[in-house]
Amino acid sequence: MAAAGPSVFLLMVNGQVESAQFPEYDDLYCKYCFVYGQDWAPTAGLEEGISQITSKSQDVRQALVWNFPIDVTFKSTNPYGWPQIVLSVYGPDVFGNDVVRGYGAVHLPFSPGRHKRTIPMFVPESTSKLQKFTSWFMGRRPEYTDPKVVAQGEGREVTRVRSQGFVTLLFNVVTKDMRKLGYDTGPSDTQGVSGPSPPPGRPL
């Protein structure tokens, strides 16, 4: 086995949930967790986290900054089921009820280096106007049964969502043995330093 080279590759991601833009809301916190395929296993670090509550900055940007660190290492034998980070943002509504303000998910970057991702966030919509009103009134907005739903495509057709806000994430990705297992994740694999970081997750 040892002579045959590695049998798993490692993906190490650290970074942070930097900030968010939720123009209408304040005092938010976020939770993150990872969704990954069966061939993946976390080897180190935290898979779930819940951040502090942050308030908007007083300047024009009105940014909600968490700077909530992420540090996790996965091992895998198969790129299928590449880990996704699932974010859910919560905050109080007018009545002080804790309601969800956004769900979002993004794949961890494939290529090593520094990556910045801005994820558009969305929340499920109520099924009717009346529901909407009552859910607003009762402070029990529709929520996903499991935030991980947003990382899967199955069953999404039955839901309706509305976009609100963006969350910016920063990833520093290190991979090990991907090449040896025959997975080439692009030219920046060899560079190590921040290559051209294409922002596919950018909203604009």
Binding site: S7, S128, Y144, T145
Partner: protein
């Protein structure tokens, strides 16, 4: 005050500050005198400017200024001198006035004493006083109100500097104006006036003059200034002198400045009334109105505004400008620029569209530094092959080298070359002419025209003959006229041709003669050209006749023509003459008139002599003169035609001549020849501006011909756009020069190799070459004449003979790029490549030929022009073409397969991935599939493959009973199919699966929640709010623990003191002992009283085992112990999969065992008792509770598929129930074994119990009922959650249940209920929750006076008010025809009323609003029971016993296990008794008997009773008793098994396990 003045003042002040005191400055503002003084130094600041500008700038304003200034003094007489240019005064001020002033000041200081005395005498002292009031008045008149001056000032506006200068000059001039006054002494009033205007130099003048004159010599600067003056102002000597005196006066005043206070005029502040100022401003300022300008003002008159936007034209958004601003601007524009060019057609100001873009076009400036860097970073881009866009790539499908252009360059001939000698020039000319001659001769146009003429003449002749034609005269006349005109034209043409021929011949001869003379002159020949004129004799007479006839004919024709012409002219003449006559008459009349008018208007008559063109008196045309005409004709004939009788001259050019060898030539010629030899020529082939090949370099021959004879095959990649040959000449070794470029046409597609003619393409160069030998050079004038006249300039030129054609491939197909790729420029080629020209009209009918042609010529099948043709061809040829008789789907699939299918199937990894993706149970949760095939063990698939293999093989190894094995198999299959169904269903999501959403609350709940708002925040007794279940994501072994809280126990049996020393614990738990449920009060510790107090009756402890992990509590004492302990058991999920579905399929049970701890003194010897205690702890199993894990972790899920209406009703019913009592179980529909939803009442129907049971005790219905219940309880229990993991609760019908011999509470309850119904009892299914099962189903029966609650799984029954009834809550009752939901306040069976007829207590499903539709039952009509084979049961019994014994021995690996056969046989006899009594109090009798038999053995044992399903649970049960744990050395064991068979293969298994210790 004038604003103008104000401005000047301010500017000047800036200059003053340097050299004047502040005090003086303030003083000046008030007095005119001071102002002037102040202005004086100003020019000094910029003397250069002054000198240059003065003559121009100063000039204009001066006279006006003068006027204004002088008018108050009314000195009109001084107009003359004032008009003079003011240069002197300006220049005089000089450039170093400051220094001069300083010097003057010094001098004045010295002279003051002298001067002062005289001055004081002359000037009246009270000057300051007099200055006051009149001065003010004067100032006003002078500046403020004079309109003329104002106008002038506006002109000067920009030039304050010059203005100030002007002012200064004025003051000087005023001084100059003084002289006339002084002779007479001024009156007091005059003096006063004077002083108020200006300081008065007068009085000093007489005295100061000598001083100033003295100073003249010393002040250099001043003199310089004065020296400039004389040329300009020479005449005004007095003026000049006055100027000097003025300066002196000034200087004097400077001196007086020290006493400035004397001159200060105190005046009130200037005030102009607002009205006046407004008046002034109104004149000066223009304030545009803010009002909207009416559109008509902005547009030209009578023009309607035109709105482009309304006409549909695009107009950009105008920049946003407030309306008022626009109005102001419009008003301003209208006033300032009267033209309307600023206004558009719509009457608005012309404006460009708003330039502000809504989005920034600049890349956003990112705040973070690193981003900057990222943007500036250089990106590496891989080089991309450049494809020229305008050049079409040829042939997507064909290989690019398939097209070929053959260029055959045969040779090159120079028609002129710098090295041509004169002879060569002539030779070339001659050759050219000869070529021309040959060409003409070949065409022989003259002959053709002559023939034509002849034919026409004949036609006319015949046409004129009236006998021969009977056509109408008109038509014949017409045709004849046409013929005639044609004859005329033809004749002209023929004449021209003949003349040309003749001229050519003449020129040839002339050139040849020149050449001959030249050869003679230069005494050598350079060219082998030789012209031979062959004379062809002609018949003199015939020739002459023909000649004459020709002339005659021509003459007659001409005459005729002329006659016609003459006629026409005469006609015209007559008309003109008439006109002229009339005009003449009129003229005469006019003249008469005019003569009369001559006296009155002599001049006018003069201008009118030729008011119109005077018609000249027409001259009558002369009649044609035949002789003259004949002469003309003859002359022309002589010029252009061969004279009759003259021999025909045929020139023949040959190269037969000899060239003079070099030795005989002069040096210059030799040089030339050598030069020619040194030259060589080659051609480059340029294709699409790229050199593709070049010919060999060939020497230039002496005849200036180069033969190449090379063929170039160009493999074409791009469509040819240009093809060029470049002619290069190499002279010796010095290098090459590009002589010329020859552009070759791209051949048409029809031209292929072999067919292409050799063409000669001419070229010429514009190079200028002069040579120092006989060569004439090129581009240079030269002459043949000796005197240099008749110069010629020849350029290098020549011809390249070549042919360009498309190559033909091996199979005869021309290698031509498809026409579709040609540019539009080549369309002509396409047009010409039409079918008819190519294959002829006959080819059109031959379709095959046509098709071949179409293929060959590469006809564009997509060109709409070709569409019909292509269709025709396709139809015609389809019969022969190959059409595949199959249709290939995904024909490209082969291309995309990266490995072969076999290889793919061989891949273990791929297989594993596939299986996992299909969610095959074995692999569903397979984690981390290895990256390589070699790492996947074969055995991974073994289980799966085995299962596939064994699917239809029933093996009996695990299942001793073949029927059980079959059932197990069947169950397995059902399980699989159901799982598959639900795996599919699992991927079908409902909104509720994904989103948690609150139901729309009704008013009451809304009100309640409103009410809740007012609730206190921290209630005293907070109620726990259910936390939302969050499934853990990644749990590993050890993360989950099962917590068991052992609180207390009731009624634990105590040890019975027997005669012997050993204690026999009574039957352990209630489940075994308490059958007297009929009497609710039976359960009380009855035995305790029998024993003496203080003696420990029992020391129980509880042991919990789960997944072979064991925990136990501390040991308590007494039959009613209380532990209050929490035990923690680790949990391991199967396969490490902690998903919901996986957890639900955990089959492990939690065993809760109660043991009695018994301490034995092991000391054999009493002597040692003092020193130590040696006890052995024995534990005796008292009983067990088995809790399946599935009840711990339970999640129910339903699917629905019944009648829509009913389903809706059930949903509604359930929703209503859930709303009121969310925790009460309400069941209306269930899923049957095939996965369909069935209404629950369909399951209930009276069904016959086995006849055997009914016959057992026919007279005791209660006993029968108990027996039936026991029978039902003997059917093994298998929870649905285990069978159908995480999916649903499946209900099987009773026959299915009996066939399967496995089921959970529902099946048991349904069967029991059905039996009871058939026994004639009133029975219901109770849905509720019990301990330990959780949500479960019980059976309720109604006896005469009370209700009984039956546990179907154990067969026990309880009274309604039995506190030990495990059923803790009742959700609903289900009967065969209705469902009743418990809507009472309580749900404990102890506290509810089971009377379902009361609608306030029980909400029924079917009521008056929804009548029972009479649903058919799903149960069979009758149950059929087979008698169980007793022999098989006996065999099974033996095997079980054997296996268990082996197991016990296995569990005691370190000890010897001895079996007491005697005890075993005793037990064996005892077990059937137990079965008969259903475990009831037979023991006591039996125990005594046993004890008797066993004698001195300490006996510890207990019977276990179980329904038989398979072997494993039996083993587990034996293990959990812990009998084998006894490690007393001389222990013996006894084990007996008894199986009692019931109908339908229901087996009751009894196991008696005991340990025996021999007493000493």
């Amino acid at each position: 005050m004038n604003p103008k003045e104000e401005k000047v003042k301010i500017i000047t002040e800036e200059f003053d500050e340097n050299d004047e005191d502040a005090g003086v400055g303030s003083q000046k503002k008030t007095s005119k005198m001071a102002r002037q003084k102040r202005k004086k130094p100003l020019p000094a600041a910029g003397p250069e400017e002054m000198v240059s500008e003065n003559p121009h700038l100063g000039n204009q304003p001066e006279p006006l200024q003068e006027d204004s200034d002088t008018r108050p003094l009314s000195m009109t007489t001084r107009r003359g001198p004032r008009s003079l240019p003011p240069i002197p005064s300006a220049s005089r001020t000089g450039f170093a006035e400051f220094s001069m002033r300083e010097r003057m000041r010094e001098k004045l200081q010295a002279a003051r004493s002298k001067a002062e005395s005289t001055l004081l005498q002359e000037i009246p002292t009270p000057r300051p006083r007099r200055l006051q009031s009149p001065g003010e008045k004067e100032l006003e008149t002078e500046f403020g109100t004079e309109p003329g001056e104002e106008a002038q000032k506006t002109q000067q506006e920009d030039d304050s500097q010059s203005h100030s200068r002007v002012k200064f000059r004025d003051s000087v001039r005023k001084i100059k104006t003084k002289p006339p006054v002084p002779p007479g002494f001024p009156s007091a009033e005059e003096a006063y006036n004077f002083f108020t205007f200006n300081f008065d130099p007068e009085p000093e003048e007489s005295e100061e003059k000598p001083k100033a004159k003295n100073r003249d010599g010393t002040t250099q600067e001043e003199e310089e200034g004065e020296e400039e003056e004389p040329p300009v102002q020479g005449i005004h000597k007095t003026d000049e002198q006055l100027l000097i005196s003025a300066t002196e006066a000034e200087a004097f005043l400077w001196g007086l400045d020290h006493a400035a206070a004397d001159f200060v005029a105190v005046r009130p502040a200037d005030y102009e009334s607002a009205h006046v100022r407004l008046q002034m401003e109104k004149e000066l300022l223009f304030v545009p109105s803010r009002l909207t300008v009416p559109t008509y003002k902005k547009l030209p008159e009578n023009v309607q505004p035109r709105y482009l936007e309304d006409e549909g034209l695009y107009i950009g958004t105008r920049p946003d400008v407030p309306r008022t601003c626009q109005n102001i601007m419009e008003n301003r524009l209208l006033t300032q620029e009267p033209g309307r060019r600023w206004f558009g057609d719509d009457g608005r100001i012309v404006a460009l569209p708003n330039p502000i873009k809504p989005f920034p076009s600049r890349p956003p400036v990112l705040t973070q530094e690193q981003d900057f860097r990222a943007e500036l970073e250089t990106l590496y881009k891989k080089a991309v092959k450049y494809v020229h866009r305008s050049q079409h790539m040829i042939g997507s499908g064909d290989s690019p080298g398939n097209f070929q252009l053959d260029i055959d360059i045969s040779g090159l001939i120079f028609t002129h070359h710098p090295c041509f000698s004169r002879e060569h020039v002539l030779a070339a000319k001659l050759a050219q002419l000869y070529d021309q001659y040959l060409a003409r001769h070949q065409r022989n146009k003259a002959k053709f025209l002559t023939d034509k003429l002849q034919a026409l003449r004949n036609a006319v002749q015949t046409g004129l003959n009236p006998e021969k034609t009977h056509k109408s005269l008109d038509t014949t006349q017409k045709t004849i006229n046409e013929y005639k005109s044609e004859i005329r034209q033809t004749r002209k043409l023929r004449d021209a041709e003949q003349e040309k021929d003749r001229m050519l011949l003449k020129t040839i001869i002339k050139v040849w003669k020149e050449m001959k003379s030249l050869r003679e002159f230069q005494r050598f020949t350079n060219t082998p050209l030789k012209l031979v004129l062959r004379k062809e004799k002609v018949d003199q007479k015939a020739d002459e006749e023909a000649y004459e006839a020709e002339i005659q004919a021509e003459i007659s024709e001409l005459l005729e023509e002329h006659m016609e012409e003459h006629e026409q002219k005469m006609e015209a003449y007559r008309a003109a003459y008439q006109q002229w006559k009339a005009w003449k008459k009129a003229q005469r009349a006019k003249k008469k008139k005019k003569k009369q008018a001559v006296e009155e208007h002599p001049e006018e008559e003069m201008g009118e002599p030729y008011p119109e063109e005077d018609p000249v008196k027409p001259v009558p045309p002369e009649p044609t003169d035949r002789a003259l005409m004949e002469h003309q004709v003859r002359e022309r004939a002589a010029r252009s035609r061969r004279r009759p009788g003259e021999p025909l001259l045929v020139p023949e050019l040959s190269l037969a001549g000899s060239v003079t060898p070099n030795e005989q030539c002069p040096r210059v010629e030799v040089l030339r020849r050598e030069d020619v030899k040194r030259r060589s020529i080659y051609l480059k082939v340029i294709f699409n501006d790229k050199e593709v090949s070049r010919t060999d370099s060939r020497p230039l021959g002496a005849d200036f011909r180069v033969h190449f004879g090379q063929i170039f095959n160009l493999q074409i990649f791009n469509w040819p756009e240009s093809l060029t040959l470049q002619v290069y000449e190499t002279v010796g070794h010095s290098g090459t020069t590009l002589l010329a470029e020859v552009f070759l046409p791209i051949p048409e597609t029809t031209i292929v190799t072999g067919r292409a003619p050799i063409e000669e393409v001419e070229f010429s160069s514009n190079q200028h070459v002069t040579l120092d030998h006989e060569g004439v050079g090129s581009g240079m004038p030269f002459s043949f004449e000796a005197d240099g006249s008749n110069q010629l300039i020849l350029m290098t030129s020549g011809k390249v003979s070549n042919s360009v054609a498309w190559a033909i491939g091996e199979n005869g197909i021309p290698l031509i790029p498809p026409l579709s790729q040609q540019n539009i420029g080549f369309r002509s080629a396409l047009k010409r490549a039409d079918a008819i020209s190519s294959i002829g009209t006959s080819g059109l009918t031959d379709l095959k030929k046509l098709a071949k042609w179409a293929a060959e010529s590469k006809l564009d099948p997509n060109d709409p022009n070709n569409a019909p043709l292509m269709q025709l061809i396709s139809v015609a040829t389809s019969g022969e073409s190959y059409v595949p008789d199959f249709f290939r789907l995904e024909q490209l699939q082969q291309e995309f397969n990266f490995v072969s299918d076999e290889e793919l199937n061989r891949s273990k990894r791929f297989r594993l991935l596939c299986l996992r993706s299909q969610e095959v149970p074995e692999f569903r949760n397979y984690k981390q599939i290895p990256a390589y095939d070699r790492e996947i063990m074969e055995k991974v698939f073994q289980d799966y493959e085995k299962r596939l293999r064994d699917r239809n093989v029933i093996e009996t190894k695990d299942h001793i009973d073949p029927h059980r094995a079959m059932v197990a198999k069947y169950l397995q299959q059902v399980r699989e199919s159901v799982i598959n169904r639900f795996l599919i269903a699992k991927h079908h999501f409902l909104l509720s699966d994904l989103i948690v959403e609150e139901e729309v609350p009704n008013i009451s709940i809304l009100g309640l929640s409103l009410f809740k708002l007012a609730e206190q925040k921290r209630p005293l007794r907070p109620r726990r709010k259910g936390r939302k279940k969050v499934t853990a994501q990644n749990l590993s072994d050890g993360d989950i623990k099962v917590l068991v809280n052992i609180i207390r126990a009731y009624d634990i049996p105590v040890r019975k003191p027997t005669a012997s020393k050993f204690q026999q614990p009574s039957r352990s738990s209630r489940t075994f002992s308490e059958k007297h449920a009929a009497s609710p009060t039976t359960h009380s510790p009855t035995h305790s009283a029998d024993y003496p107090l203080g003696q420990v009756l029992v020391r129980p402890f509880v042991e919990v085992s789960f997944q072979r992990t064991i925990c136990h509590t501390t040991t308590a004492e007494g039959p009613n112990p209380s532990w209050n302990e929490e035990l923690e058991l680790p949990f391991r999920a199967p396969n490490g999969d902690y998903s919901t579905s996986s957890l639900q399929s955990v089959k492990d049970d939690v065993f809760i065992n109660i043991f009695d701890e018994v301490l034995y003194d092991v000391l054999e010897d009493d002597r040692e008792r003092g020193s130590g205690i040696h006890t052995r702890i024995e534990r005796h199993w008292l009983g067990c509770v088995k809790i399946p894990f599935s009840t711990i972790y339970f999640q129910a899920k339903f699917d629905s598929q019944e009648d829509e209406k009913l389903l809706q009703a059930t949903e509604k019913f359930q929703a209503e129930c859930a709303l009121k009592f969310p925790h009460r179980q309400c069941l209306t529909t269930v899923t049957d074994i095939s996965g369909k939803t069935v209404f629950i009442t369909r399951y209930l129907k009276p069904l016959n119990p086995p006849q055997e049971l009914l016959e057992a005790c026919p007279n005791n219905p209660q006993a029968t009922a108990e027996l039936v219940a026991r029978y039902v309880s003997l059917i093994p229990f298998l929870p649905d959650t285990v069978s159908f993991a995480g999916i649903c609760d499946l209900w099987s019908t009773s026959d299915q249940f009996l066939d399967l011999l496995a089921g959970d509470e529902e099946e048991h309850a349904v069967l029991l209920c059905n039996y009871f119904l058939s026994l004639g009892k009133k029975a219901w299914l109770v849905m509720g929750s019990a301990i330990p099962e959780g949500p479960t189903a019980y059976v309720l029966t109604r006896e005469q006076s009370h209700y009984l609650i039956w546990n179907p799984c154990s067969g026990h029954f309880y009274g309604q008010f039995d506190t030990f009834c495990p059923l803790k809550s009742v959700g609903c009752l289900i009967g065969p025809d209705n469902i009743w939901f418990n809507i009472q306040r309580h749900d404990s069976p102890l506290r509810i009323n089971f009377d379902v007829t009361k609608p306030k207590l029980w909400k029924s499903f079917f009521s008056r609003s929804l009548l029972y539709p009479g649903l058919s039952s799903v149960q069979p009509e009758e149950l059929i029971y087979q008698r169980t084979d007793k022999a098989a049961a006996a065999e099974l019994q033996d095997r079980i016993e054997k296996i268990l014994k082996e197991k016990i021995m296995d569990w005691r690996p370190r000890h010897l296990t001895r079996w007491n056969r005697y005890c075993t046989s005793a037990l064996r006899h005892f077990l059937p008794l137990l079965e008969r009594s259903r475990g009831e109090d037979v023991e006591d009798d039996h125990r005594g008997e046993l004890l008797k038999q066993l004698g001195d053995y300490r006996f510890s044992g207990f019977p276990l009773h179980m329904p038989y399903s398979e072997l494993k649970p039996l083993i587990e049960a034996v293990y959990s008793t812990g009998v084998h744990n006894i490690d007393v050395p001389n222990v013996e064991f006894a084990l007996a098994v008894y199986i009692h068979p019931y109908p339908k293969n229901v087996l009751s298994v009894w196991i008696y396990v005991a340990s025996l210790i021999r007493n000493r």
